[in-house]
């Protein structure tokens, strides 16, 4: 339950306002994905979101980084939609982006140019890497979204950073008030924080099963992580609840592989890769990616000022390759591979991705120190190619030979 002071505001007690806010946030409403099985919904999310936009005129905003404070959007009844390119041909971005820009950025731009994201009302970037920053600006200039906002968040956990992060969030809130013609209500933000806490906790439980010896397939974990980043949280919560109820049961289709494996990289969104790894004997128990487990860690406190809680949550987030320093990344990496008893790592890097390419040597050293084998594959926007398949086969063959 919330920690609530019994003061009145606007004629309603805070308690009542918050209860109403929670009820409002949870309210089941008609959507374009009603009756669609969740796996299908995730696979077809651009089409479904487009249909939802046409149906309800609800505001949808594209986001470019996991550090976007999705709870704030939810408090304004906006659907934050994470963009990652979704397998588009990066060549579609040629009129605006050079070929040495990473494939996901080119793919997102290609989809934008092809009108695949026309259902979005705008774009928000929580500053991450150079390429995403460039994409934001080029998108804004060429696709003329109704709304475009760049958050410049701090990366260190200091009192000044906390104060600064709150001002940045307030800047975003002011812009969203103008966009939606709706006043910011702290109760709604607190309610949104509560919903996302609940959803992330359920998804972490699914990963916790993988931490043991059972658990669902990684492909499902990946899809659910994505679901939480492209659909409203109130839509995903029932999916997660049902999934959680069955997550470690006998009917769950887990991964048959025996090698406990972690994938690491930025936007690893090629399901065919996961399937191939599983087919070769890998059991992906954990990911270290920008759209996976890291997005689920840490919590905004449910009590106190919600904006402060959200800012604290942001500052304490797990270290990402784009902004964190080596010691923090190294410590996080070590902790996770130990906690999940990782036996092998596949680095799935996007070509030209500076943050991850620069981190690779020291992360590899962490693994070598523990005798954990690793493989690096580079994606060029074509997903699982024959060359990558061959390299994965060789890697698993090597692991098999070295097993006692």
């Amino acid at each position: 339950m919330w920690s609530i002071r019994n003061v009145t505001a606007g004629g309603l007690s805070t308690t009542i306002r918050e209860e109403q806010a929670v009820a409002g946030c949870r309210r089941r409403r008609e959507t374009a994905w009603d009756g669609v099985a969740w796996r299908d919904a995730v696979a077809n999310h651009p089409d479904l979101l487009k249909a939802e936009k046409a149906r309800s005129r609800r505001t949808l905003l594209g986001t470019l980084c996991a550090h976007t404070p999705v709870e704030i959007f939810h408090a304004f009844d906006i659907v934050p939609v994470r963009l990652w390119g979704a397998g588009a041909d990066p060549g579609g971005a040629d009129p605006l982006l050079q070929s040495f820009i990473c494939p996901p950025v080119r793919q997102i731009m290609a989809m934008g140019l092809a009108g695949r994201y026309d259902f979005l009302d705008g774009l928000v970037h929580a500053y991450s890497c150079d390429a995403a920053c460039g994409l934001f600006n080029i998108w804004r200039r060429n696709l003329h979204p109704k709304f475009a906002f760049q958050l410049s968040l701090p990366y260190m956990d200091t009192p000044e950073a906390l104060a600064y992060a709150q001002v940045e969030f307030r800047r975003l809130i002011a812009a969203l008030e103008t966009l939606t013609d709706r006043a910011y209500e702290p109760e709604r933000l607190r309610a949104a924080i509560g919903l996302y806490r609940e959803a992330r906790a359920l998804l972490r439980r699914a990963y916790a099963h993988k931490r043991q010896d059972g658990g669902p397939s990684y492909a499902d974990l990946y899809r659910l992580s994505l679901a939480l980043q492209v659909f409203p949280v109130e839509t995903v919560l029932p999916w997660l609840t049902a999934f959680d109820a069955a997550a470690d049961g006998p009917a769950v289709a887990g991964d048959a592989g025996t090698t406990r494996l972690m994938i690491s990289g930025s936007l690893c969104a090629d399901e065919a890769l996961f399937t191939e790894i599983a087919a070769l004997g890998g059991n992906i128990v954990l990911d270290d990616t920008c759209i996976g487990y890291r997005t689920l860690l840490g919590e905004a406190a449910p009590e106190g000022d919600p904006l402060t809680a959200l800012a604290r949550h942001h500052l304490a987030r797990p270290p990402c390759s784009a902004r964190a320093d080596f010691p923090a990344r190294r410590a996080y990496f070590r902790e996770q591979i130990e906690a999940f008893r990782v036996e092998a790592v596949v680095f799935i890097h996007q070509k030209f991705c500076d943050p991850h390419l620069a981190d690779h040597p020291f992360l590899k050293t962490v693994l070598e120190e523990r005798g954990i084998p690793s493989l690096q594959v580079e994606l060029e926007g074509e997903g699982l190619t024959g060359q990558i398949r061959t390299r994965l086969e060789g890697f698993f063959e090597m692991i098999g030979k070295n097993r006692p």
Binding site: L97, I138, F352, A358
Partner: protein
């Protein structure tokens, strides 16, 4: 492949280049002298307001990013790249990163280095600002050198969005840094000395703008081939060295303008250059001269178009730290377009050369928008060529030549048609 080294001697016209060579040598000698005398040497990222703080506290700054062009010019970049690759770093990473990491991890201990090499750091500042490769370079250095490190944080904000709270946060970071430096040196910062350093930087920036503005003269008094003068803007801000040197440059440039002395005898085309030069092949700027074409303005030299207030030294250096990177990168694409529009008008540009630079994504992103803006909005033709500011293996001279030759011929025809009498 780039041109062979023996073909790469750049033709420079400013007499100031003699003094510049001495300033460059003295900067590195001073670093070694500082080390020998027990004055701290700190390695820092480029283009921020820390240098004024360093000089005000008698700390010698070393900028790996500035060392990289030196390596490219003298040809040691290749061995640094090889060393970097040997440590497992990808060839797709920025050439500055690959050079500086290779140098710091291996090359720094090599005997008989040009300019004596770099003195090892007594401390490092890992600043979460600027581009990712710069940030990552310092993370590698912090991991490698056994010395004190201060990690700082500065948000990336588009020029037009910088607000009071950004500045306040920048000042808070600067104060943390001051406490670190005071602790390290055992001395208090003298704010009057910092104000003086800020005043010198402000004057250097003012002189810089005045010098750059004189390039609007026809014929242009000097071309991008002389852009090495920016060395003082990177390494000697906060000192009278930059001010004195730039005063001499200004006097020389004024004199050339007064006498109508240009780069070429009969200047016919005025060109604009976008992105970082090819440091291993500065002679490329002379290539245009065979058509009496001169590169008279660049985006890169705009990084110091700023003013500082000696009465507010902390705010000034925080502001400098916030704006230097967005001024030239894609953090602020609209601002960059505005800057180019202004340059095209003021420098009476006939055509633009856009270096699509594999080593610098933040500056290269947006170039296709720049090209379209120039063509469609201003009617100024622009050509894009593939290159790399550090790695000659990623630049092919023949395709460059083919593309540039055709482009210049088109500009000349265009000019001839514009000047042809009406039938």
């Amino acid at each position: 492949m780039g041109e062979p080294m023996d073909a790469q001697k750049t033709t420079k016209r400013l007499k100031a280049n003699t003094a510049l060579r001495e300033i460059i040598a003295e900067f590195y000698t001073d670093g070694h002298r500082a080390k020998a005398e027990g004055r701290p040497v700190g390695w820092i990222p480029p283009m921020n307001g820390l240098i004024e703080l360093f000089y005000a506290m008698d700390i010698h700054p070393i900028f790996p990013e500035n060392w990289a062009p030196v390596c490219a010019a003298i040809g040691t970049n290749r061995q640094n790249f090889a060393a970097c690759a040997g440590h497992g770093y990808a060839d797709d990473l920025c050439g500055y990163f690959r050079n500086n990491v290779g140098y710091a991890l291996d090359g720094i201990d090599a005997p008989d280095q040009p300019l004596g090499g770099l003195p090892k750091p007594d401390f490092l500042i890992s600043f979460g600002a600027g581009c990712i490769p710069t940030m990552k370079t310092f993370q590698v250095l912090c991991d490698h050198f056994d010395c004190p490190v201060i990690r700082a944080d500065l948000p990336q904000v588009a020029m037009e969005d910088i607000g009071e709270h950004h500045l306040r946060y920048g000042v808070a970071q600067i104060k943390r840094l001051i406490a670190f430096l005071e602790d390290l040196t055992g001395r208090r910062l003298d704010l009057d000395r910092l104000s003086q350093a800020v005043a010198w930087t402000d004057e250097a920036c003012r002189l810089w703008d005045e010098i750059m503005a004189l390039r609007a003269a026809v014929p242009a008094p000097f071309s991008a081939a002389e852009i090495g003068i920016m060395f003082v803007m990177v390494t000697r801000h906060g000192t009278p060295i930059a001010v004195d040197f730039l005063r001499d440059v200004l006097a020389e440039v004024k004199e050339r303008v007064a006498r109508g002395v240009g780069v070429v005898p009969d200047e016919r085309l005025r060109l604009f250059w976008d992105n970082i030069p090819l440091w291993y092949n500065m002679k490329l700027f002379n290539y245009f001269e065979k058509w009496n074409a001169v590169v008279v303005a660049e985006t890169y030299t705009s990084a110091w178009t700023l003013r500082m207030d000696p009465a507010k030294p902390l705010e000034s250096i925080a502001y400098k730290s916030l704006v230097s990177y967005p001024l030239v990168s894609c953090v602020s694409l609209e601002k960059r377009l505005e800057l180019i529009r202004k340059a095209i008008r003021e420098y009476r540009i006939d055509g633009a050369i856009l270096h699509s630079n594999r080593s610098c994504k933040p500056i290269s992103m947006g170039q296709l928008d720049i090209q379209r803006m120039l063509n469609d909005e201003l009617g100024v033709p622009a050509v894009l060529f593939d290159g790399d500011h550090m790695d000659g293996d990623k630049f092919a001279f023949a395709p460059f030549q083919t593309r540039i030759d055709a482009f210049i011929e088109m500009l000349l025809e265009r000019r001839a048609s514009a000047h042809a009498p009406n039938p």
